[in-house]
């Protein structure tokens, strides 16, 4: 009989894992198509880090569920309404390197803060996973932040393009701090922490780079995207999953 706590922990892990996997999938698409060879290598590293994080949290979720499901079950045999990632990470990059870096920067800053908190989780596995992940995320923030600055304060063209990316991604940032009764139960229990309390710090981290990059945070956003934690996604996720999941779906008995 699954306890309420366990159910909440599973849900919490799947959110993190889904976020990392979907983000990794988008970044991996750059392999072989980056602006310079060094960046192909850098982005592959980011993708590998994120996949590693996803695998860690999926594995823990499956242990908590205790039904022998593997990490691959969660990645390849769940549908659009089961995924718990934020809408930001499923947005397609459309070959815009600046868009990818801005996305990585926004997510990375948040992940850094949440992992920093989770290192103090009273759940040993989660705190262990957080300790490992924070080193990687620190590097992602540094790399992406550097690029945001270079593109913002580079040429006139790059400035305009990255400002546009910022404007397009800004409405996805509220969702970073969304939480529901799952979080509340875990916060009460000491396994997780209040995301809303991270907002000020996140804004400070972001503003520091945005200012250096001579960019402007849009002040006129009227709509903020939401719904990931309830499995209500943008239309992009369906296409992403169709591509990612097709082989295991087509050959359900196969081992690869």
């Amino acid at each position: 009989m699954m306890t309420e706590l366990n159910t909440a922990l599973i849900e919490y892990c799947l959110r993190i894992a889904d976020n990392s996997l979907i983000h990794a999938q988008r970044i991996a698409d750059w392999t072989g198509h980056g602006p310079i060879l060094e960046e192909d290598i850098a982005m592959s590293n980011v993708s590998l880090d994120l996949i590693g994080q996803a695998r860690g949290f999926y594995t823990y979720a499956s242990q908590l569920e205790g039904n022998g499901k593997s990490e691959d079950f969660y990645a390849f045999h769940r549908g659009e309404r089961d995924f718990r990632n934020r809408l930001m990470v499923e947005q397609p990059d459309l070959k815009d390197f600046g868009f990818t870096m801005m996305k990585l920067f926004f997510n990375g800053c948040f992940d850094y803060l949440i992992f920093r908190d989770l290192m103090k989780s009273n759940d040993e596995t989660i705190s262990g996973l957080a300790s490992k992940s924070i080193k990687e995320v620190t590097y992602h923030v540094r790399h992406a932040g550097d690029w945001v600055v270079r593109l913002g304060d580079g040429t006139e063209e790059s400035h305009q393009r990255i400002q546009k990316s910022l404007n397009e991604l800004w409405p996805f940032t509220n969702e970073l701090f969304e939480q529901n009764e799952v979080d509340e139960l875990l916060i009460h229990n000491g396994a997780a922490f209040n995301k809303k309390e991270l907002k000020a710090e996140w804004e400070a981290m972001v503003n520091e780079i945005i200012t250096k990059a001579t960019l402007i945070i849009p002040s006129d956003s009227t709509y903020f995207y939401s719904g990931g934690i309830n499995g209500v996604h943008s239309e992009h996720l369906g296409f992403l999953l169709a591509e990612m999941q097709y082989l295991p779906r087509m050959y359900p008995d196969a081992i690869w």
């Binding site: 996997l21 999938q25 991996a28 698409d29 392999t31 072989g32 198509h33 980056g34 602006p35 310079i36 060879l37 060094e38 960046e39 192909d40 290598i41 592959s44 590293n45 993708s47 590998l48 996949i51 590693g52 996803a54 695998r55 999926y58 990490e71 691959d72 990645a75 390849f76 070959k95 390197f97 600046g98 600055v149 270079r150 593109l151 304060d153 580079g154 040429t155 063209e157 790059s158 393009r161 591509e243 990612m244 097709y246 082989l247 295991p248 050959y251 008995d253 196969a254 081992i255 690869w256």
Partner: protein, 335 residues
């Protein structure tokens, strides 16, 4: 009259001395070249600041830049399957492999730059279609099994070539190759393992693996190049220890070791002339279709245009990024 004669004699003398000067220069050059060739025979490793014949420099630059281009273009057929890899482990392994290929391209470009050509100039040659790259990457990856076939056969063939190149006479190239050889073995193994799993799997998986084998076997054999009598650069490269064995030798080495691996997992080699020769202790094999090889290497393969387009697109899509980074660093310097 006397002055005219004098100037005539003087002119002749000058011409004679001038001619001697030229002759001394030519002698000097061929003496230098002989000494260079001898030192290579003695096992000397040539470094960037050493004197080298212009032909040596040009041949190496051509060979190295083509090798680097091959690594970079080689990322594309495998990169295709990253988003569709059938498990998280396979996805991670494939990303790591393709990342390595980027790294290998980078190491070799880096080594080639020591011969006096900027990477950007080499890249321009690739993008304009002027430079060649390994013909194998002009074939399409149609199924997941192709990823196994590439790792096993294509990287397997590359390993045979590269282990030998690690002993070549040019220092930066041999050092780059040593680093590459250390990393390459995992590429070969993961490809073989993919196929081994398929051959132990469902009927559809077995058919997928055999189909990939059928399509990649012959192009992999062509990777070693035509017989050396048909290869224009071989003689020089052998003399300068940039090439240590003939194309045919290396191809035979690859066949002998790979046929055994195929049999171990139940894959049939698509060559009905393949037969173990007890006398020579090698496998005899069928005729390679060199017409296909020359067509593909000259631009008429299934994916030549696509690969070039993908590389050109990546380069032009990234132009604004590279420019921005340059502009940013220039602003910092100015301040």
């Amino acid at each position: 009259m006397c002055r005219k004669l004098l100037s005539l004699i003087l002119a002749k003398l000058i011409r004679h001395l001038g001619f001697m000067d030229v002759k001394v220069k030519t002698d000097d050059l061929s003496a230098k070249e002989t000494a260079f060739n001898d030192s290579i025979k003695d096992g000397k490793v040539i470094e960037p600041k050493d004197w080298m014949p212009e032909k040596y420099r040009k041949q190496l630059l051509r060979m190295m830049s083509q090798h680097a281009h091959s690594e970079v273009v080689g990322m594309l057929p495998e990169g295709n399957w990253i988003t569709r890899a059938p498990s998280l482990a396979r996805k991670a392994i494939l990303i790591a492999k393709v990342q390595d290929e980027a790294g290998h391209g980078l190491y070799i470009y880096s080594a080639a730059e020591t011969l006096g050509m900027d990477r950007s100039e080499m890249v321009d040659q690739l993008l304009s279609g002027k430079a060649k790259y390994s013909s194998i990457f002009n074939y399409p990856t149609l199924t997941w099994a192709d990823i196994g076939a590439i790792g096993w056969l294509v990287d397997g063939a590359a390993i045979v070539n590269q282990t030998v190149l690690a002993k070549c006479s040019y220092g930066p190239y041999s050092r780059a190759m040593l680093r590459i050889c250390r990393e390459e073995n995992f590429h070969n193994k993961q490809g073989y393992q993919i196929l081994a799993f398929l051959m132990r799997g469902t009927q559809e998986q077995k058919e997928m693996a055999q189909d990939a084998m059928n399509r990649w076997w012959w192009p992999s054999l062509m990777m070693f190049g035509p017989s050396d009598k048909d290869s224009p650069n071989s003689a020089d490269l052998l003399k300068w220890k940039v090439k240590l064995y003939t194309n045919d030798d290396l191809r035979q080495r690859f066949i002998d070791r790979t046929v055994v691996q195929a049999e171990a997992i139940g894959l049939k080699v698509p060559d009905d002339k393949l037969k173990w020769n007890e006398e020579t202790r090698h496998y005899d094999f069928g005729e390679i279709n060199w017409e296909e090889f020359f067509q593909v290497i000259n631009g008429n393969g299934p994916c030549n245009k696509l690969r070039l387009k993908q590389r050109n697109d990546a380069h032009s899509n990234g132009q604004w990024v590279r420019e921005a980074a340059k502009a940013y660093s220039e602003k910092r310097k100015a301040n």
